[in-house]
Symmetry: C2
Subunit: 264 residues, 2 copies
């Protein structure tokens, strides 16, 4: 019986999503709990995520799947997992899915948030939950520039080395930011069919520089032409990044299909 599980986690105390020896990761905590619930079967049950998140990156709606040797009502599964998982993880939803569903290979899109604190001083309560930008920014200018991210583009200028992707072409459906006045934060939001390694953090770095006026408003277009990561410079900190939602084939009628195989 295959379960699709949506989880939130505070990435602060994780060495990222992916299992690594002698490190506390999201995948290893989940794998431990799932195998304990199933009374340690041989071979052990594997947990598959929609993709990795780096150390310090948070999730409001990461998705994983795994196969259990028993049939449990989804809400019981949710409660059971939550009773065993550490306090910095929380299962939000559980669904039973058929064997064609794969948390990674069935992804049709992802939505990320980036929270950038605009306070003059660093805020000890936000250090793990936001990036920090203390120069004046023009939100309209950022949103004007962000339009150039929409559509299918070669994001070679926006990918960190070590990405391992077969191609740097990706399609972005939504990109922009708004000012959260109550929290004095700039909140960026991106929705696309997939994102390259560090792509969101590099895009935010370029956009805040455009907003501050240290890059021209057509800075995104320039980077497409240069096609070289070195010109994007700034990668904003992991602490402000949130994986907000993972879309699967058919979830979003406007963008129903997954990333072509050669792009994954």
């Amino acid at each position: 019986m295959r379960y699709k599980v949506t989880i939130a986690y505070d990435g602060t105390n994780f060495a990222g999503f992916q299992r690594q020896p002698n490190q506390r990761t999201v995948e290893s905590e989940l794998t431990k709990v799932v195998n304990k619930m199933a009374k340690h079967p041989e071979p052990a049950i594997e947990v598959y995520g929609s993709g990795r998140t780096d150390a310090g990156v948070h999730a409001l709606g990461q998705v994983v799947h795994f196969d259990m040797p028993f049939n449990l009502p989804p809400d019981n599964m949710r409660k059971g997992l939550n009773s065993m998982l550490p306090m910095d993880m929380e299962v939000l939803a559980v669904a039973q899915v058929d064997e064609t569903f794969h948390a990674r290979y069935s992804v049709s899109g992802k939505r990320y948030l980036y929270r950038m604190d605009l306070g003059e001083f660093r805020n000890p309560f936000k250090r793990n939950y936001t990036g920090h930008w203390k120069f004046p920014v023009d939100v309209d200018r950022i949103n004007e520039a962000a339009k150039d991210l929409i559509g299918e583009h070669d994001f070679t200028s926006f990918v960190a080395s070590g990405s391992g992707a077969r191609t740097n072409f990706r399609t972005i459906y939504e990109a922009g930011c708004h000012l959260d006045e109550a929290n004095n934060e700039l909140v960026f939001e991106f929705y696309g069919n997939g994102f390259l390694y560090n792509q969101v953090r590099i895009m935010v770095g370029v956009l805040v520089e455009i907003g501050a006026g240290t890059r021209p408003v057509d800075g995104i277009q320039q980077l497409y032409k240069l096609n070289d990561r070195r010109y994007a410079r700034r990668t904003v900190p992991a602490s402000g990044l949130y994986l907000k939602h993972v879309y699967y084939e058919g979830d979003d009628p406007a963008h129903p299909t997954k990333l072509p195989k050669h792009q994954r």
Copy 2:
């Protein structure tokens, strides 16, 4: 030269305010930095706080004082301290004061906040920053009951053992709560001339039970009559508590004077 320093800290990774052997505390981090700035004088410089906060309790405006062997403009002192303090502490303000000022003995009042998350499920991002209450509460009923806290009372029913105070009489000037709808939290606020050990956390425990209807609306009056800590039962978690402001003699014209000596 005496400096009055206002600091914020995220209490999550501190074993409280007060220095303790082999523990990371707010006082020990400050003492370390202050003595380093002064090039390790003998005897070492002492840092005096307005009072202790427990492990996990946060501060939006804790106050300390210390004497430095040199005269530095307050803003340079602020920047210097911040450049050396860890990221979960932040100096908000520095003032030079005369030698009659004492961070603890000159206190005329304190203001505390308590943030109570009302989400149905635990929220991994709030576990260190709020308490959690998942039953329906009536905010008006809480505020009706909280009026009984105002004034001078014997708070024996609201003090944890080990308080060490000479008397349990304290005066509360303001007490109440409001619903923070954006964050789905109940935010309690208390202002008084001083608070006993765990008093705020015990008062919040009583007030949420009144709000949930498991205690009568005159539950505070009942506790005054019983005059016994065992009837208050619940002490809500340290994670939701914030020392918001420390008032000194003359800071608040409505309540200018400090706690009488026999009550400290």
